[in-house]
Amino acid sequence: MTPLDINRRTFLRNSSYSVGSAALAWMLTRDLQAATAGRGVIGGNFHYPPQAKRVIHLCMAGGPSHFETLDEKPELARLGGEPMPESFTKGQQLAQLQGKRNALKCLAPQFEFRESGECGRRMSTAFPEIASIADEIAVINSMHTEQINHDPAHTFMNTGSIIPGRPSMGSWLLYGLGADTDELPGFVVMTSSGGGQDQPIAARQWHSGFLPSKFQGVQFNSKGDPVHYVKSPPGVTRDDQAALLDTINGMNRLLGKRVNDAEIATRISQYEMAFKMQTSVPGLTDVSDEPQHVMDLYGAQPGDGSFASNCLLARRLAERGVRFIQLYHRGWDHHGGVKKGIETVSGHIDRATAALVKDLRDRGMLEDTLIIWGGEFGRTPMAQGSGRDHHIKAFSLWMAGAGIKGGTTYGATDALGYDVAKDPVSVHDLHATMLHQLGIDHERLTYKFQGLDFKLTGVEKARVVKEILA
């Protein structure tokens, strides 16, 4: 028996002296939560039957234009070059166009849309491969957000708050569900770029905030060591490192015999996992075991650090039990030259995105993998030269897999794609829907911090977008 396998009776007999029992319950809950990293606080007690086991978030960083991707606006085409009707923009927040408030002009959508799939949804011809999975995806054309600049908008999309220090959605999932792997981190982030100016991305986007830091996302690098410090020092072979690990753990076990400290047992298991990671991470990132037709499907070259390679790695991570996989592609900030920018970014992401969905489908994994594709906000119908400015009143994204009703289109914007006209979906609604698919009631995944029950979905009422669910 370890010292902390507490005997219930003695515990009860002694616990009510100098601390209020409510306070004690609070402490117990908190420590219990912190202690069960492997399984998560939900354990097996899902609030709903879970559809998804994992999430892949394809974060199109920079703010994809809905006009060139998912939201067809013929009226905007008609008004291209004309002044933007003032009724739309009066009193509204603008970003870089603020100084040109009095000379706003409409910019016509730069690509044709075409009926796609059996669902017949009209989709941009700039993304032919994504159009080819039209029947797999549910598009939401009525997203809106609160933050108009990249950094806080990403923070809001990832954590549901604009205040730094809140946990990101991947951390919430690990806290709730744990991971199905003890060889890899449960929350993995990768980045790529190409197609526009690279806006910076901060590690706070995958930080665990006030949740214990074991729930933090781990960034995999496309160059150098895939994970920091995963490689043994020079001159140290795998056997050397194994001998060292055995010694360290042997020493720690001896310590554990002399000292009552529950952390020692945890330390030993963390060293075991670290050693496993030293093997499994290089194995994961070495894609030489992938057949050529798979490499071709994604359009990936081994080790090129591209979005395509990251998509392939995302599938491999999903296969190995990683809970939340987040791929950032930094190429969507098209203030100028949106047409050229979209063409370039499509070259980077179109084929690989569709390949990931198809590959998962063919392997039977799409049914329990939730895919979210979208950025931190949309772009203006108004021109900023040959491009578009940031826009928060309306934008589009799509979801696929894990109980999502493919072929649906939900919500709509007004004639010029400026504001949501029907069925608005907030970022918190998106989070609630994601959690729902994982079997979690967003109201009931909470963590006590600063005396309050914090949730991913914040204090406002959030709603599961049932209409896109199968």
Partner: protein, 1003 residues
């Protein structure tokens, strides 16, 4: 997993200890606050059925209960009913009362339903010390809090354990061997060590959200290290805490502030700021103000006001108006919201009104010259004055040379022959820190060395003497292309008429500027010139759209890739005014007019003559050198952002925190209403004077402020035990924790204030106690009886904070640089770790001198990408005020200690030292163990480590290359004469030692 799930369920069955009178604060309030106040509490916005239960009168008014009569009480019915429609809390709240909680509420009503004000909002009074037979008040309080019949502390810790504990807790460093002796003298020496301030700074800097970068978006650097050093120094000098608070919040408003008091005000400027393109000034000002309220309330008051930004607090009596009134205290801070060029400083603010300060890229800034710089500058000024006098003296020889020079110029100006007129000479080259060479130059002393992967350019400002182009002018520039690294393209750009739309280029079309533009804006002259020799690029001015009469204000050299030297550039012109370039207008006129020169004209010409005549070259060179020395001396300074007071901005209550909604009322600075009132400095509460940050600071540090001393004392207690007396270090409010030892907390808070907010006294008091000095090795039955150590019948083992994990390894290796204070340090960091940063792109250069081995708290603190080692060991990014760190236990920590070059290098240097000092492996092992853990290895431990040693010795004997590779880690020199195989094997052992749980834990 620590606690079986069953315990949670079992809690429902806890029977309270007897039917003793209930305490509202201890027993009842936590239940009501957790389950009821969200809908029946202070926030009218979400209040249901107009019922509030947090105020007794209001609850009685709505007949929520009948004191003394549970059966007649609606509340009791509501919490016990089976009817789902009536049940409280309602099922859809996902909250439920346990039978025990229902019982408490019922009995509380039975006992008359007394309320108490929340403990933390009542000023602390000094309670009597219980008489438990101990000498130390803390021990008496602690013993009194234990269950009867079980009242005992654990035995004192082993001297070696205690030495290690005291040393880490008071300085963050392992004990010196000489320091394992009498605890009393040890404590005094540790408290007077300069490292005490460093240890306390690690705690305070989390609260102050100190970091070295701006945080948002580009996350650029800005220097505030002087503030960090101020904090270290304040703790070392034992500055009274009330003064420490006042100086940080309002040092600038004190009478005749000292330099240090201005440095202290960096505190208000440590918030994250943004310079992202497209951000709105007003929106970011809103963010900064709200952040300051969050920081101020948590850091000083131990209260969470953040929720009140959007609505009245649901659990504490903070209102939204309180929040914005608190913001208004900070509305005078001289700053802007958007640091991208669009932002505006406070109305009417002018830095000239604040002598001694300047506006840097990030706002008001104070420069502190290094010691001796002022004297140096004075000396240089005297020297320069003498040299200038020499330059300006007149001799007959100079005068005749001058007249000859004038005659020559007059002749040139009149003859109409085209000549080269420089636009860019050596004098212009050092602009903007450019790299220059003196070896391979075309003319003069310098040539510009320009190198890069993509576009590289250098812009020269000719604004001082704009160049007016004449018809027929030809531009030229001398270049030397490196044959080993030729560029793909060269470009000359001219800025005229407010635009850069005049470009000539050679080679391939790679540089984006003007690409695809009209002719003069993008004129291709021809192929790239020959490499390896000085070549003159030429292009007629007309080809780049610059006809006669156009004025050029700037010139830029650009290239794509490669290495190029650039030298003299200018134009070939027949324009007489052009030939006379460099002369002032009156001087030029004088030379192109007929007739004799007048005296003012002569003076103007003499000034120019002194600048160019070879006769005065030596003295000019001397002056240039003095100027260079002055510039260098002026750079020997440190800078920090400071708080200056300017016209306050208007602050309104923002409905739901929306910065665009200006419908809310304007508010004046005020402290939260339920906590009382702050008085203006004038002393006359009725004067109507606007309250200042200093008034806020005075109110925070007033003797009757209920929160300030408690919050600080509670956190200091946690530094030495791992847990606070009230467990939630962030929040003492309604949702915080009833203290395990409320009387002790209050006693300490009063003692702290009564001794003049004496921090070292407080610390000494705590570490002097038996409670602190007792063993952390508790028997299983004690852990079983009190798993969370709420009795403090033992010490808590604690993992070292991130910074000290590093310091410990470097210290035992003998590598640690113990310099206190100074600029940041850059330890090894994985390559490319900053690749996601942009505007500008960042390249991290680890220090390669002894700055590499500085203490962890000096590590460059990049908010968006904190150093991976600090992050792995739970150091916060300091984007926000942080009152407590998690103490996690993760595989990343293991990977870090195993493979981070910092720890590998420490291990090999440690090993080398052990080998040099001791002859045999057993002796080395014994010594290493003692230095690291202050104890000898047990037999079993020695067996394990010796086996590792033997294995690695065999390995490295057969593969000496591997040993050498391991021993090449890091920059520390390896001592000569040690056998690589032995050293490699010993290093394997020291790596094991540095990875031990015991090494990174203080017991």
């Amino acid at each position: 997993m620590r606690i079986p799930t069953i315990i949670l369920a079992a809690l429902a069955g806890i029977v309270p200890a007897g039917a003793a009178p209930l305490s509202y604060n201890r027993d009842v309030r936590p239940i009501l606050s957790e389950n009821c106040f969200a809908c029946h509490g202070p926030d009218p916005g979400t209040r249901e059925a107009k019922l509030r239960l947090d105020v007794r009168e209001a609850a009685l008014d709505k007949e929520a209960f009948v004191p003394g009569d549970p059966e007649a009480s609606e509340l009791v019915y509501r919490i016990t009913t089976d009817d789902e429609d009536d049940l409280m809390p309602p099922p859809d709240s996902h909250k439920a009362l346990t039978p025990e909680q229902k019982d408490i509420l019922t009995r509380w009503i039975e006992q008359g339903a007394p309320y108490e004000a929340h403990w933390a909002y009542l000023p602390p009074k000094r309670p009597p010390v219980p008489e438990m037979g101990e000498a130390h008040p803390i021990d008496n309080f602690i013993l009194a809090g234990m269950p009867p019949g079980n009242r005992a502390l654990s035995p004192a810790a082993e001297p070696s354990t205690l030495a290690r504990r005291l040393s880490f807790d008071l300085t963050g460093l392992p004990p010196a061997e000489s320091n394992i002796g009498n605890p009393a003298t040890k404590i005094d020496s540790l408290l007077s060590s300069p490292h005490f301030g460093e240890r306390m700074a690690v705690f305070w800097l989390d609260l102050a959200r100190y970091a070295d970068t701006i945080g948002y978006h580009s996350d650029e650097e800005r220097d505030v290290t002087l503030y960090r050093d101020y904090v270290i120094e304040a703790f070392n000098r034992n500055m009274p805490y009330d003064q420490f608070v006042k100086e940080q919040l309002a040092g600038d408003l004190l009478d005749d502030p000292t330099t240090d008091q201005f440095i202290a005000t960096s505190f208000n400027r440590l918030n994250q700021i943004s310079e992202e393109g497209g951000i709105q000034d007003a929106e970011y000002i809103t963010k900064y103000y709200a952040e300051r309220v969050r920081t101020t309330s948590v850091a000083f008051l131990g209260s969470t006001m953040g929720c009140a930004e959007c609505h009245d607090h649901k659990f504490d009596p903070f209102t939204a108006e309180d929040f914005y009134a608190m913001e208004a205290f900070f509305a005078d801070i001289y700053e802007k919201g958007a640091y991208n060029g669009d932002g505006r400083y406070n109305e009417g603010a002018d830095i000239k009104a604040y002598p001694g300060f300047r506006l840097s890229q990030w706002g008001p800034t104070l420069d502190i010259p290094e010691p001796g710089v002022a004297e140096e500058l004075a000396r240089l000024a005297r020297k320069k004055k003498g040299a200038e006098a020499e330059l300006n003296r007149t001799t007959p020889e100079l005068e005749s040379a001058f007249l000859a020079w004038v005659a020559e110029l007059k002749a040139k100006a009149g003859d109409g022959t085209p000549r080269d007129v420089p636009m860019l000479e050596d004098d212009e080259l050092p602009l903007g820190e450019v790299k220059t060479v003196t070896e391979n130059v075309h003319s003069g002393r310098l040539a510009r060395h320009q190198q890069g992967d993509g576009v590289v350019q250098h812009i020269v400002d000719t604004k001082k003497t704009p160049v007016t182009v004449a018809d027929g002018d030809v531009f030229f520039a001398w270049v030397w292309l490196d044959p080993a690294d030729p560029p793909k393209q060269l470009m000359l750009q001219f800025h005229a008429g407010g635009k850069w739309d005049h470009r000539a280029w050679w080679g391939g079309d790679h540089i984006p500027f003007g690409k695809g533009g009209k002719k003069g804006g993008h004129h291709r002259v021809g192929d790239l010139p020959e490499t390896g020799q000085w070549v003159r690029l030429e292009v007629p001015a007309a080809k780049v759209g610059l006809g006669g009469g156009k004025t050029i204000t700037q010139l830029a050299y650009a290239q794509h890739g490669g290495t190029v030297l650039w030298d003299l550039a200018g134009r070939q012109t027949a324009d007489p005014h052009g030939v006379l370039a460099g002369l002032s207008d009156p001087a030029r006129q004088a030379l192109t007019q007929d007739g004799p020169l007048e005296e003012p004209q002569k003076e103007a010409l003499r000034a120019r003559f002194r600048e160019v005549t070879p006769a005065l070259a030596p003295i000019r060179k001397k002056i240039a050198q003095i100027t260079a020395e002055e510039t260098a001396a002026q750079k020997r300074k440190r800078s920090t952002l400071v708080t200056l007071s300017a016209t306050p901005r208007e602050v309104r209550v923002l409905p739901r925190g929306n910065w665009m909604d200006t419908s809310g009322p304007v508010v004046q600075p005020a402290v939260p209403g339920f906590l009382g009132k702050a008085d203006p400095a004038s002393g006359d509460p009725e004067s109507g004077a606007r309250l200042t940050r200093l008034d806020l600071a005075e109110w925070i540090t007033a003797r009757d402020n209920p929160l300030t001393a408690r919050a600080f004392v509670n956190r200091v207690w946690a530094l030495f035990f791992g847990t606070g007396l009230s467990r939630d270090l962030q929040d003492l409010g309604n949702q915080g924790q009833w203290p395990t030892h409320p009387e002790l907390l209050d006693w300490l808070a009063v003692e702290f204030m009564d001794t003049g907010w004496d921090v070292k006294h407080l610390v000494k008091l705590i570490v002097d106690s038996k409670t602190y000095q007792q063993s952390s090795h508790a028997p299983a039955d004690l852990i079983e009886a009190d798993p969370y150590n709420t009795w403090y019948a033992r010490q808590n083992p604690r993992r070292l904070p991130a910074e000290f994990v590093r310091d410990n390894a470097l210290a035992v290796a003998g590598l640690l640089n113990r310099t206190v204070g100074g600029a940041n340090a850059r330890p090894y960091q994985p390559a490319g770790y900053y690749r996601e940063l942009n505007f500008p792109k960042r390249k991290y250069q680890a220090h390669t001198d002894d700055r590499q081995f500085r203490r962890g708290l000096y590590t460059h603190w990049q908010r968006s990408f904190l150093h991976p080692m600090l992050m792995a060991f739970d150091a916060p990014a300091r984007e926000e005020c942080t009152a407590s760190r998690e103490s996690s236990n993760t595989p990343q920590q293991a990977l870090n200690l195993l493979n981070d070059p910092t720890f590998v290098e420490a291990a090999r240097v440690f090993a080398a030292r052990l080998m040099s000092d001791h002859e045999t492996f057993p002796a080395r092992l014994e010594a290493g163990f003692r230095e690291l853990l202050a104890r000898a290895p047990t037999g079993e431990e020695a067996t394990l480590l010796t086996a590792l040693y033997d294995r690695q010795l065999g390995r490295y004997r057969s593969a000496p290359g591997d040993a050498r590779a391991l021993l090449a880690t890091g920059i520390a020199p390896a001592p000569a004469g040690l056998d690589p195989a032995e050293l490699g094997a010993t290093t394997a052992v020291t790596r094991a030692l540095l990875n031990l749980h015991e090494t990174i834990t203080r017991y």
